[in-house]
């Protein structure tokens, strides 16, 4: 195993940075530290080895896009499009994330300690054993899980006060696959027309136990405490909600 590599990213254009990452990873390096990251896009894209990349700073849009295996740890906030179409690997964000977190993801895991912006989990999908999983520690803005076609989305609301509910509207609009688990209250009017709420069964509890356990491990929480709280499961009502919309 090669030694850990540290790269000072200050002033490096994103293409050069990603080219450098590809080169370093192809040499068999398993641990990379990126310092002074200010907005470089697509970090981790195209990488398909089990390398760990620690980022200090604010990575740019589409962090981990199309990534296939690495683990990215961000000490800071992520911008928009984090985990875009990722296939495998993990993204762990010690901060918040912007809009369209995990869009079109087809595998891998994303853990966000704080809040996320609009449309988290939009059009995630699953196929056989490929199943993207997203756990959000804070709350979300509108259109959480929009057009979701598969995978698991967990919203923990850890910063909500007693009796305070999530604020997101249009949750699960157009959703037609996968499951959303929400800890804390949501009102009926906050849900999209294509989802319904249900009680959790045994399988749901085991999914939560595993993923919340991992979340708690990453960020130093007590999983048991988090799981004590009531969760609501949202599931899609239809397989093809818009099947007749454009057909005539």
């Amino acid at each position: 195993m090669k030694e850990a590599v540290t790269i000072d990213a200050k002033g490096i254009f994103y293409r050069e940075l990603n080219a450098k990452l590809r080169k370093v990873v192809s040499n068999g390096t398993q641990k990379i530290e990126l310092r002074n990251v200010y907005g470089q896009r697509y970090i981790g894209t195209d990488l398909d080895k089990p390398v760990e990349i620690e980022i200090f700073g604010t990575p740019g849009n589409d962090l981990g896009a199309f990534m296939d295996g690495p683990r990215i740890i961000v000490h800071g906030n992520a911008q928009d499009g984090c985990g875009n179409t990722m296939n495998n690997g993990e993204i762990i964000i010690h901060g918040h994330a912007g809009d369209i977190l995990g869009l079109s993801a087809r595998g891998g895991k994303i853990f966000v300690r704080e809040d996320v912006g609009y449309r988290a989990g939009i059009h995630m999908k699953e196929y056989q054993d490929k199943k993207p999983m997203v756990v959000i520690g804070g709350t979300a803005q509108d259109f959480l899980g929009e057009y979701m076609a598969g995978g698991i989305l967990i919203l923990l609301g850890l910063k909500l006060k007693e009796g305070e509910s999530h604020k997101a509207n249009f949750i699960g609009t157009g959703m037609h696959g996968g499951a959303i688990y929400i800890r804390g209250d949501v009102e009926e009017f906050q849900l999209g027309k294509e989802v319904s709420a249900a009680e959790l069964d045994e399988n749901d509890h085991s999914v939560l136990k595993k993923l919340v356990g991992e979340f708690a491990y990453h960020f130093g929480y007590d999983a048991g405490e988090i799981l004590k709280h009531k969760f609501t499961k949202l599931f899609p009502l239809y397989l093809r909600p818009y099947g007749r919309l454009y057909a005539y």
Partner: protein, 385 residues
């Protein structure tokens, strides 16, 4: 700019890759301290890949304290004849206190620049026929922009100005020697034109009096907005959608006297489904606004930074189809398309967050936004009335 020339200013990898989004950045010291544009240029340049070199620009407030009582006109001329005619017009309608060419320096990347001149003007009261000064100035700007050939007024406010053109924003900053200026409020824009030409007048910010607007997005209601504004004497001449926003805020805030919070509900009105859940009093307000000002609703995706003397306002469309991040460090407020641009110039923010769609973020002189403890990100919204 012709389409076939586009390749000339495309990215230096020459692979036609475009990442398609404008970049916007605003920085305001709410204590009124004036600062150089260095961090602003650095921040907007950090979002270089969002634009494509077809437009860059800056608005600076607190710019001309020595001429603070005069209207500072920045006028772009496409010919010397245009300039002669406009200067003749200005002498008839205003007392011309000072007239000079705006200093520039040759900059790689800036090609075929027009002439840009700066005038400090005082309204000739005897010419104004009892019109308010503001209305008089707006009318004269419209007159130059619509009736006089080869001349466009880029800015027309007091103690502020707009510098803009075709190029990347960092090139425009170099071209106009912005390092020599100071202001307490700066906004900056890098353009990726979508439906309209990339020309000098189409660069952001757009301005009327001391209002400026920079915008990321696409205002598909432009036609409706424009026709409505024409009834009030505003004529759109810059061939691009964002221009309407400058006139809308002049109309609603200066002329109709509406507060910013109400203007936000006109530009980005709440959904009917939301209104139905509101109290009868609020329902009445929201319904009235939609009836009276329905034609000023901005349809389509947008994030704008609106500024005028003493105030900087960030606003997105109601479902936030374009990004906006807010940062606060002591008395300084930052608004940006991307958080990384803020962190680059202010790594140790008191607070950074992403506001809800349709919710205005307002920075005012003398009123710093207070950082909340332990809040890295927060979702500010009261969705139940």
């Amino acid at each position: 700019m012709k389409l076939k020339e586009l390749s000339r200013i495309n990215n230096f990898y020459h692979d036609d890759k475009v990442i398609d989004a404008c970049s916007i950045f605003g920085m305001m010291d709410t204590s009124g301290n004036r600062f150089s544009g260095k961090p602003v240029v650095e921040a907007i340049a950090n979002m270089h890949v969002r634009g494509n070199g077809l437009g860059g620009g800056f608005a600076i407030y607190g710019l001309y304290p020595e001429y603070a009582n005069y209207y500072a006109f920045h006028i772009m001329y496409l010919s010397r004849e245009g300039q002669a005619k406009v200067e003749d017009f200005l002498r008839h309608k205003f007392h011309v206190i000072d007239a000079k060419e705006v200093p520039t320096k040759p900059t790689p990347g800036i090609v075929n620049p027009p002439l840009v001149w700066r005038y400090f003007l005082e309204v000739k009261v005897e010419e104004s026929n009892g019109q308010s000064e503001g209305d008089y100035v707006v009318d004269r700007v419209m007159e130059i922009n619509t009736k006089m050939e080869e001349a466009f007024v880029f800015s027309s406010g007091k103690n502020m100005a707009v510098f803009k053109g075709v190029g990347y924003p960092e090139e425009i900053a170099e071209y106009f020697c912005l390092e020599q200026y100071e202001g307490y409020l700066w906004t900056a824009h890098g353009r990726f034109p979508t439906n309209t030409p990339g020309w000098w007048g189409g660069a952001h910010p757009f301005n009327i009096l001391d209002w400026t607007v920079i915008h990321n997005g696409e205002i598909s209601s432009y036609g409706i907005n424009r026709r409505y504004l024409e009834q009030f004497g505003y004529n759109c001449t810059m061939q691009t959608d964002t221009e309407v926003v400058a006139y809308v805020v002049d109309l609603l805030i200066r002329r109709h006297g509406l507060p910013v919070e109400i203007v936000a509900k006109i530009l980005a009105p709440p959904f009917w489904s939301y209104i139905e859940r509101c109290s009868p009093k609020e329902q009445k307000l929201f319904r009235t606004l939609r009836q009276v000002y329905g034609s000023l609703l901005l349809n389509g995706p947008f994030t704008v930074i609106i500024a005028h003397q003493g105030e900087m306002i960030g606003l997105t469309d109601r479902i936030r189809l374009r990004p906006l991040t807010v940062g606060v460090k002591e008395s300084v407020l930052y608004l940006s398309s991307e958080e990384s641009a803020i962190r680059l110039v202010s790594p140790d923010l008191d607070r950074a967050w992403i506001p809800m769609g349709g919710e205005p973020i307002v920075g005012s002189l003398g009123k710093p936004l207070k950082p909340e403890k332990a809040s890295v990100a927060e979702i500010k919204s009261v969705r139940k009335c």
